[in-house]
Subunit: 363 residues, 2 copies
């Protein structure tokens, strides 16, 4: 592990691109070359990130025609109305087919900028400059874009691979503590779902990560991006292995929907969701309870909630049935055999899920 | 040429599927098999087509869970609001990832149903059952979906190949005369742009086509679908040869935008657009004037307008610059060398375009 930028190459049917992970990337023109980003640039950011980084990004972009749209901050704005605002502003700025959209922000901005780029004139290029830990380790890589609907998270969207992802770990310094910790839940997800060695590394480096140590962060972000790139390359459309990246997500999405998007952060909901997936795995005799305990303990060390909010099991179960990963009404969940080894269960017994939910929400 | 159904197989990167062209298909369950259409079906239609054909389609679909959404009729409803209504209704009907959307209607319904299917849970299957001549020969095949924006036609959309296209020429019997004739403009487009022999066939069979003779229609629709399938297979994303299908469209889109969508029918605008493309081709010394005259004469025989509305050349030119086919502000048009032989001109001299527009709109 060294300080130089890591370049992770991703090849999918929908496009090939590089993910760059490093420190100070946002200020260096070399990471925004002409063959990646054209002369017309449309930056989508929000009122929190924009004031901090839009000018620096613009400076690095140099003499291009740049239009910047600043949206309100928050998951509650990730909807068709904001999507429509982006499209309107792109039309007003006379963006053409060869324009490049840049998503400068967290997962919400990246998802919306990517979805607008996917649909504008049936698809223009998008470059992701993720500024949250969650977005750097998960949202920015892989081409999933979309907005929420009252009926479900990311219910409206598209697969649209970015042309590049520029993950500058130094911008994480300004991230609010709660958001940063929520991002750590997604880091844990890679360990718990895919890689036992990485899970142990996270446990050993929990303090450095909590303190946002740059070296530890760069290693963690790089590791997550490599893992995601590997999975996405094998399975762009989530028919198989990519589903494993959703460990904790069906539970988590139900928590987010039940509490109204924005009340729980996505990473917080995923953290509690992983705990529930762990408990369900133990209950079904799949996972040693010691492994589930290690997972809860690590999430707890990161200051993350390890129980869902006090909402009835029936409501959560109903929302889980509406989740995208549910095929034909069957409850499809990611469960664990051990830390680092997860798998898809296509038809999860609802009574067992209800029991786990009931125990957790009543506690 | 015989009466049996024609099955045209289309293979693109985005999916492989069959286009079935024939008579009476909509009433026969054999064209809606289980491996193409799942158990959950969401039919999108409009208040004109729905009452005529929705029950017959439902009967042919048999014992599936079918929800039908009836939208208002007209190009003016092809917008994000209608898209949003489709998504809302799909959520309400609890459509899952394995649902099949069926677009039962003309090009507007097909484009919107296809776009909703493209975005719903990041993509579900769509089957097109086109009921207008325009949709049968052009809109339903090829995977272009989308909605209009005040800033441009089809400005918001996606490439999403259908799982099947069922083109039943008998449903064209109920098409209003004006719409039917507008559809003939797109038939002429295939001849004028790609196939001199087919152009001559259309001239020779103009009367049979005007009278909606079933045999002539089946041959014409089949021929157009074969031509479109061939082009789409070579070039799904319209970087090259697929662009030739846009003969007359950059002019046509400007006419539609300038008059407000819905005042001119799409086919009417494309017809006038082809005439303008022909005149421009003659003016630039590319096309013999006799060929341009044959084109105008055939369109005129079909009762189609051969001149744009009285709108200033500058306004039309400005709208043409905003068209999707314009790259980096250069005017990219499809011109003709002879009937059946068209090509892309990447940087059309604006003054020549203005002159042709001015002469046509002042006349």
């Amino acid at each position: 592990m060294d300080d130089a930028e890591a370049v992770i190459h991703v090849e999918t049917r929908g496009g090939a691109y590089d993910v760059i992970v490093g420190a100070g990337l946002i200020d260096r023109p070399k990471w925004f070359p002409e063959d990646t980003i054209g002369a017309d640039v449309f930056v989508v950011t929000n009122e929190t990130v924009g004031p901090l980084y839009a000018d620096r990004l613009t400076a690095a972009l140099g003499p291009r025609r740049i239009t910047t749209l600043v949206l309100p901050d928050g998951e509650e704005h990730k909807n068709l109305d904001s999507f429509s605002r982006i499209i309107d502003a792109m039309v007003e700025a006379r963006m053409h087919r060869d324009a490049t959209v840049i998503g400068l922000g967290g997962g919400v901005i990246g998802d919306m900028a990517g979805f607008a780029a996917a649909c504008y004139q049936r698809g223009v290029a998008v470059v992701q400059v993720p500024t949250s830990l969650l977005a750097q380790v998960d949202a920015a890589v892989g081409g999933k874009t979309g907005v929420n609907h009252p009926g479900g998270k990311n219910l409206i969207g598209a697969f649209h691979q970015p042309r590049a992802v520029i993950a500058d770990v130094t911008v994480l310094d300004t991230l609010p503590e709660r958001e940063y910790r929520a991002g750590l839940a997604e880091v844990v997800k890679y360990g718990a779902g895919l890689d036992a060695g990485f899970f142990s590394w996270i446990e050993a480096n929990a303090q450095a990560l909590t303190q946002r140590d740059a070296k530890a962060l760069q290693f963690a972000v790089r590791r997550c991006c490599e893992a995601k790139a590997e999975v996405v390359q094998q399975d762009e459309r989530e028919t198989g292995r990519r589903a494993l990246l959703n460990l904790g997500h069906t539970f988590g999405h139900a928590i987010e929907a039940a509490t109204g998007y924005g009340s729980w952060l996505h990473g917080e909901a995923v953290g509690a969701g992983m705990v529930l997936a762990g408990r369900l795995s133990v209950r079904l005799g799949l996972l040693p309870s010691a492994d589930a305990a290690r997972l809860e303990s690590l999430l707890s060390d990161f200051g993350l909630p390890v129980a869902p909010p006090p909402i009835s099991a029936d409501i959560l179960l109903d929302l889980m049935r509406m989740d995208k990963k549910v095929l034909s009404g069957r409850l499809r969940l990611i469960l664990m055999k051990e830390l680092g080894d997860s798998f898809v269960v296509a038809d999860c017994p609802e009574e067992e899920v209800r029991t786990v939910l009931h125990a957790a929400t009543a506690g």
